[in-house]
């Protein structure tokens, strides 16, 4: 059930270029991996909420991993423990977990947020899971990779090889010689997703889920503002906020993305 929440910041962890906010919700909170919350951010003359993936969900609380890229996310990153946040959620359609195949999770940059949650969930269910995280933009996430490595196992790549594999996260996948019969789950920059999809064969599209980012107003499917091109002829657009943010790769029209 989506709802409006006031949450208290219980913990704030600085992870290099990003900030993790651990939130406590008095009424309890449950989400599935891939879902997001729509956060009211401060900032001068900004009116719309900002979507952030649930990156950990446990004991009725949740955590967000925020990269400061603009006014709203910067405002969020500078909140302190004890302050309150106003958010709607959980919203959207999360990942569909494949219980039978090997699961390969591919994160780019802050795209790790929902995949960390997904990996934890898969591990809880005892599924075969491989989590790869590319920091192709040269970002530094501090201790976070170590924490996630302990939680679920993790392969990291960087373009310059400073950390983990040297190359893009897709090159890392090749190097790991992952099972092409696996189910794929990806979240990251639009170009990374497009590159990934370009490399997929027919059967693989149906086994690949991507979480896409699109600017949002309502976050609940009411405004049709977050349209992404659909592959189905009759319905030219899907909403990232309600029908997504997670889509099977074959649901989207990658030519028009």
């Amino acid at each position: 059930m989506p709802a409006g929440y006031t949450a208290t910041i219980a913990e704030r962890n600085s992870f290099g270029c990003s900030v993790e906010l651990v939130l406590e919700t008095p009424r309890g909170f449950e989400a599935s991996p891939g879902q997001f919350v729509h956060v009211l951010c401060g900032g001068d003359g900004r009116i719309l909420r900002r979507p952030f993936s649930v990156s950990v969900s446990h004991n009725g609380g949740l955590a967000l991993l925020v990269r400061p890229v603009g006014e709203g996310s910067r405002w969020l990153c500078s909140r302190e423990v004890g302050e309150e946040l106003d958010f709607l959620g959980p919203l959207g359609r999360g990942f569909n977990i494949n219980e039978t195949r090997e699961n390969v999770l591919i994160a780019g940059g802050a795209g790790i947020a929902p995949l960390r949650f997904l990996a934890m969930e898969m591990r809880k269910r005892g599924l075969r899971t491989l989590l790869c995280w590319g920091m192709d933009g040269g970002e530094d996430f501090g201790r976070l990779p170590d924490i996630i490595a302990e939680e679920s196992g993790l392969y990291v790549s960087t373009r310059d090889g400073k950390r983990g594999f040297r190359g893009s996260v897709l090159e890392l996948l090749d190097a790991l010689e992952v099972d092409r019969n696996a189910a794929f789950y990806a979240c990251g920059p639009r170009e990374m997703l497009a590159d990934l999809v370009r490399g997929l064969g027919d059967g693989e599209l149906e086994r690949t889920q991507v979480s896409v980012e699109e600017r949002m107003a309502c976050g609940v499917g009411a405004c049709r503002g977050c349209a992404v091109p659909s592959a189905r002829p009759g319905a030219p657009y899907l909403t990232a906020c309600r029908e997504g943010p997670v889509f099977f790769a074959h649901e989207l029209d990658w030519e028009r993305m």
């Binding site: 989506p2 409006g4 719309l48 405004c223 049709r224 977050c226």
Partner: protein, 312 residues
Amino acid sequence: MGTVLQTEVAGIGMKNPVLVCSGTWGNGREYSEWLDPGELGGIITKSVTLKPCAGNRPPRLWETPSGMLNSIGLENRGLEAFLEEELPWLAGFGVPVWVNVAGFSEEEYVQVATEISVSGLAAALELNISCPNVRKGGLRFSESLGDAVRLVARVREKAELPLFVKLSPRTADMKAMCVAMAGAGADGLSLVNTVPAMAIDIERAKPRLGNVTGGLSGPAIHPVAVLAVWEAYQSVDIPIIGMGGIWGWEDAVEMIMAGAGAVGVGTLNFVDPGAPLRIVEGIERFLARKGLARVTELVGLAHRGGFPDRAS
């Protein structure tokens, strides 16, 4: 709540004067998870066109200072799906439904308006002749008084329902436009649609919106909307639904004092789905504080000298 907030516009009774604006509340299903639609004064649907309409190329949103641009472009599933799946459901809440009608030709407007009218499920029509997001139709009618008059008269002739015409704030002579609309048979006015506007991404030197231009909504346009309502109230006797940047009960009261018989909450729904009902409560508290027995006493009050000045 009693009768304090009860009101009517063009003969349509409402339990309170707060509506939700076209296109900012989907067709209700999304927000029915957040509030009981039956508590609203009324519902204005997303624009309906004759055929399904894909809408504009993304990106469709851009945030601007105290406002947002949208170029949704009338995306909707068309009249048939609307009549089968949306309208009956919406009509079930026992609050009046304004069906917002759009088209790409006069004939389409007329046909949609007629079929909605015939359905018996709507309380009124809101004719969207001011959508900045479609090249044909839409704003074109609002740009030319003559075209607008002809369209309204044609719809008026065919449709039984009370007919509200939704105007653009980008109207050089708002008073003349309002007079013309009333003359053509409009039973009410909806003021205002979004303000035509655009933004450019300077890093790419390309428009921010896939459709290049869009419509500005939100608090930024509120003072523009208040003036539109003010001018309409001065020039015609038909009721006005005031909308544009309402961000709290104070803005709603302001609109009503400017002359609106009812108000529409638009962009604010996206930020605070519970806002329409909180605005209803705020208006009620204001009336109590000012010792007014009915919200209707507020309508156009600022044209009548306002509250008496307190002796100092």
